[in-house]
């Protein structure tokens, strides 16, 4: 549901609910109850559903992910002025949409992947406000970063298929595609959100 429609619907429903407060006498007739049912049950449920959809959509934004204090440093690593940092290259070169940078690389593209990602996100929000917040350096992935996430975009691209680094051994590319060899193996693409490097690092000034 588009955002302006949700906002309008919520405002309209709130106004109608307040009108129902001052016209509570309508509840005596059957027709009045039907009207009150629409105003005090159907519309609020529609608003709640629309609001939930909107919040779920917002939860995929970089701004939302970085709104938790512990994530601030991870957001800063996207601005490293150094091409060896994989997330920084993806972010600065628009290889991922900047507004949804975190979600693009940290969502599971498999069946039910989005649901799994949202459940993880809910857990993060819970820990942020009701649990023990870890230090940025202690934040770890639930499981090793899956090749499938990289292959979701890179698979089939000429650069990915032909670059020398992917043919160091005869079967290297197939091993990567099958997941036997991780993209983030040592000496391949293992430089990611290195928050420990923030101190004294040079940053790209163009990032918003």
């Amino acid at each position: 549901m588009p955002r302006p429609i949700i906002i309008t619907l919520i405002v309209l429903s709130a106004v109608l609910a307040l009108i129902a407060v001052f016209r509570s006498g309508i509840a005596h007739s059957r027709e009045g109850r039907i009207l009150a049912f629409v105003v005090l049950a159907v519309l609020p449920v529609l608003c709640a559903w629309g609001g939930f959809e909107e919040h779920m959509d917002r939860a995929t934004s970089t701004q939302f992910c970085l709104s938790c204090h512990v994530m601030h440093d991870f957001g800063e690593t996207l601005k490293y002025d150094d091409r060896s940092y994989i997330p920084a290259v993806h972010y600065q070169s628009n290889l991922v949409p900047r507004e949804h940078a975190c979600y693009t690389c940290h969502s599971d593209y498999a069946m039910f992947g989005e649901i799994r990602t949202k459940i993880h996100g809910l857990r993060h929000v819970y820990v942020q406000y009701f649990g023990t917040i870890p230090k940025p350096a202690d934040v770890k992935l639930y499981s090793p970063f899956p090749n499938a996430t990289c292959l979701h975009c890179h698979l089939g691209s000429r650069k990915f298929e032909e670059v020398n680094g992917h043919h160091k051994t005869a079967d290297m590319l197939n091993e990567v595609k099958s997941g036997k060899l991780s993209c983030m193996s040592s000496r391949c693409h293992d430089t990611v959100h290195e928050v420990a490097d923030l101190k004294g690092a040079a940053f790209w000034k163009g990032a918003k």
Binding site: A17, G25, R30
Partner: protein, 68 residues
């Protein structure tokens, strides 16, 4: 004011409060806004809707009385 009117009025106030909380939660893009929506807004709206439904099923309308 009859009992059903009081309950409908109360339900209206609660539903409107929940909707205003939902509206406010949609202003900032922040994890705390989601918490406000999910942990406060939704339960308040749900409480208002349930209160309204209980109010209307607990007391027959004038039409129902006439049928009896």
């Amino acid at each position: 004011m009859t009992g059903v009117e009081k309950r409908v009025r109360r339900a209206g106030v609660i539903v409107a409060t929940g909707l205003i909380i939902e509206l406010l939660s949609l202003i900032p893009i922040h994890a705390l806004a989601f918490i406000a929506f999910a942990a406060v807004g939704i339960p308040v709206i749900a409480a208002g809707v349930i209160l309204f439904l209980l109010a209307v099923v607990s007391e027959p309308t004038a039409g129902d009385e006439a049928v009896r």
